[in-house]
């Protein structure tokens, strides 16, 4: 409720400003660069198999049904998290929550735009830097471009998306962002060494 009120005020008076966690911070080491990504619209989507087709149509991106995969179209990415669970990220400024609201098929869509903070980890040592805290096999054969998975980084839960052979998107909870960014910075300098 407080957040909703703050948002209304922000659009009415330009002097009120939403401060994004760690906004604009970057770290670069040899072979790996770390940056905080700009805010995006995000939803947590739960739906049974029967609703997937209708939701895919409304969102404009086909919800992946294979484990550890993602689908992307026009700035909107749907990440498979579980057999009936997806994370939808919209970087084009459109609201996926509004698109889901039009669907009558059974589903649950919850807006989590401000719950998450995203980082980009890029460069030839990106996988090594993430492996500093994440136990998953991130070789290209096992974790190809487009692969996405909820996993852990140190003591924090993250959602990991491989956006390119040398590029990852790390999504974590806002309150964990300081920890995740610090851990990734340390791991980046280790990976570079």
């Amino acid at each position: 409720m407080v957040k909703a009120a703050a948002k209304t005020t922000a659009s009415a008076t330009p002097s009120a400003e939403r401060r994004a966690a760690l906004a604009g911070q970057t770290v670069s080491a040899t072979g790996v660069a770390l940056a905080v990504l700009p805010p995006a619209e995000r939803i947590s989507l739960r739906a049974p198999e029967a609703s997937v087709a209708a939701l895919s149509k409304a969102l404009g991106v086909t919800l992946p049904t294979k484990p550890k995969t993602s689908a992307s179209k026009a700035g909107r990415t749907a990440l498979w998290l579980g057999p009936d669970e997806w994370l939808v990220i919209d970087e084009a400024g459109k609201d996926p929550l509004a698109d889901c609201a039009k669907v009558t098929a059974l589903h649950s869509a919850v807006g989590i735009s401000h719950r998450n903070v995203a980082f980009s980890v890029t460069g030839p040592a990106a996988a090594a830097a993430i492996n500093g805290g994440c136990p998953q096999d991130l070789s290209l054969e096992v974790f190809p471009v487009g692969a996405a998975s909820r996993t852990i980084l140190g003591k924090s839960e993250i959602v990991l998306l491989r956006s390119g052979p040398d590029a990852f998107r790390v999504e974590c909870w806002r309150s964990f962002s300081d920890y995740v960014f610090t851990l990734l910075s340390e791991a980046a300098s280790d990976a570079a060494a």
Partner: protein, 98 residues
Amino acid sequence: MLLIRCPYCEEERPELEFRNAGEAHIARSANIAGESDDDFEKFFFIRSNPKGVIHERWRHMHGCARFFNAVRDTVTDKFIMTYKAGEPKPAKLPGVAK
């Protein structure tokens, strides 16, 4: 680190993503209020705690977040197999004599 096969993710994942959730295949009585105290105690507290093969519930907490069942050897810590929640106890276990 142990690798545990998640039947929903269809691959082996590091053990840090998982949580143990106790013994599997413990059915709650449909008439729990009518249970005698002794029966309720058995259902609620008493676990088999075998030395050897055990059926357990596990949760892929930091992955797909689904519960599933696993057959594990408590002596060797080896996961013999995993299967989806709701499926019956596997009649035959791979690689186990008996």
